[in-house]
């Protein structure tokens, strides 16, 4: 694997190996000495054309934990505002020695374009491109699920038979897309829930079940509910009447939470709109994986960086 652009097309064996490597990285994060020498002498450039807190910090922490040098580029305050293109920007970064480009971009397909362009030799890691994919988020979500559901016997396992509901703004969600592909490859049953206005139209071929209210989805009995953020920056149309109505039909409320099986996990990729898509008390409950997801994010990104490094052999 030279680049990490999408979870679509990753085979099951590769996915499981990435999860196992993530587990080993997570172990290292528990030790007194949290650093590995693996990427010594390599430079990871974080190139962020879009705002981000946890993804950028997480990639920085992952690169530093593997002893890489890190340079961070954000488009705000850069020459991008003077009209510099993506091509010129990344070529500049590579000239300064970047071996890995971690790209967050507002346009779907930006990371794939960069990987296929031939502009650079560096590895490209997609840290979120428009409404397309956010593959490292899916990896950390799958890892969080696997470790919470199977504990010490998680290693080497897939997610066969695990039932997961993803609820919210599927239309604009790169997290949902990346999760759909990865979770399906791992054998999980994925149900998508969204208002009709926030469900993509072309998803007949997706390996998922589709329902339109959360109650309908929860009736079936589920292992985990993944709530997505209502992205206020993308709510530029009348997708649903108002926030209260959204919460009533698609929010993870305490009433819904009390009605599901006691060990049902509740996930959220962050940042959360407490009280809108997820009740604050649920986000802070023992069933919530929100904090785990953040801490596993570093381990998952370490696993991806390490896995791509082996590609330099040829």
């Amino acid at each position: 694997m030279k680049h990490f652009i999408s979870t679509r097309g990753i085979d099951s064996a590769t996915a499981i190996r990435l999860l196992d490597t993530t587990a080993d990285m997570a172990d290292v994060r528990q030790r007194d000495v949290k650093k590995l020498p693996t990427l010594r002498g390599k430079t990871v450039a974080n190139v962020f054309f879009e705002d981000s807190t946890r993804t950028r910090l997480s990639f920085e922490a992952a690169a530093l934990a593997l002893s890489a040098d890190v340079s961070t580029f954000t488009s705000k305050g850069s020459s991008v505002s003077k009209g510099e293109s993506l091509k010129d920007t990344v070529q500049t970064l590579e000239s300064m020695g970047a071996d890995f480009i971690v790209l967050r971009h507002c346009d779907s397909g930006a990371a794939a374009t960069l990987a296929q362009s031939g502009w650079i030799n560096a590895h490209v890691i997609n840290a979120g491109d428009g409404t397309h994919e956010h593959p490292t988020q899916a990896l950390l979500d799958a890892y969080t699920l696997r470790s919470r559901l199977f504990g010490d016997s998680a290693r080497g396992r897939n997610l066969a038979g695990v039932r997961i509901v993803i609820v919210g703004d599927i239309l604009h969600s790169r997290v949902a897309r990346s999760n759909v592909w990865l979770l399906a490859t791992l054998g999980a049953h994925v149900t998508l829930v969204a208002p009709r206005t926030l469900m993509p139209r072309d998803i007949a071929a997706w390996p998922v079940a589709i329902v339109h209210t959360l109650d309908e989805a929860l009736d079936e009995g589920v292992d985990a509910v993944m709530t997505l953020r209502i992205q206020k920056e993308r709510m530029n149309d009348a997708f649903f009447p108002d926030a209260a109505e959204y919460t009533r039909f698609w929010g993870m409320t305490t009433a819904r939470f009390d009605a599901v099986r006691a060990n049902t996990l509740v996930m959220h990729p962050g940042p959360m709109n407490r009280g809108l898509e997820i009740a604050g008390s649920i986000a802070d409950s023992a069933n919530s994986t929100v904090r785990d997801q953040v801490s596993h994010g570093v381990a998952a990104r370490m696993a991806v960086l390490y896995t791509l490094l082996g590609e330099d052999a040829s």
Binding site: V28, V33, K35, T38, Y306, G310
Partner: protein
């Protein structure tokens, strides 16, 4: 190329018993012993050695697994190797005698990586190295403290170790 058996199953057992005696002799009861096996076959050998030492002189011995993958110096020239979990005793390795156990000692680079991995885990009183086979061709100033069999070999030859737990069969061969 013709294949030749160098150690049979009873030979391996005898070699490990001798190593167990040598470990006890070198130890003279000074520190607690921790056996750290290097995957995959080093782990099997370390468990067997711990049992043998315990049979000769009953004592508490901790066993663990030391994955050295992330510390290797050839990661960027070889395709990605799968990592395995590292497990160390709950009481750690500080102040103890760590015995690293591997099946074959060759260039010494795995052991160099293992020494770095140990350093990241704690500060043992001493680190020793036990190997079933030493085939020579060292590329680093490293030697084993306990050797089952010195096996002069050519770099073109392949030394292979099979153990009942991992391979179903039990032998050391060269071809």
């Amino acid at each position: 190329m013709a294949s030749k058996v160098v150690l049979s199953s009873p030979d391996i057992e005898r070699a490990l018993k001798r190593i167990a005696h040598e470990i006890i002799e070198a130890q003279r009861g000074r520190h607690d012993l921790v056996f750290l096996g290097i995957p995959t076959r080093g782990v099997v050998l370390s468990e067997r050695l711990a049992q043998l030492v315990n049979d000769i002189e009953p004592q508490h011995i901790d066993c663990g697994v030391l994955d050295v993958t992330m510390y290797r110096d050839d990661l960027r020239t070889k395709s990605t190797r799968a990592t395995t979990p590292t497990t160390i005793p709950a009481s750690g390795i500080d102040g103890k005698t760590v015995v690293l156990v591997d099946d074959v000692l060759y260039s010494g680079r795995t052991i160099r990586a293992a020494l770095d991995a140990v350093t990241a885990l704690g500060r043992p009183a001493a680190v020793r190295l036990a190997v079933l086979v030493d085939r020579g061709h060292r590329e680093l100033p490293i030697r084993a403290d306990f050797v089952g069999k010195n096996l002069p070999s050519s770099v073109d030859e392949r030394v292979y170790v099979q153990l009942a737990e991992t391979d179903g069969d039990e032998m050391v061969g060269i071809r």
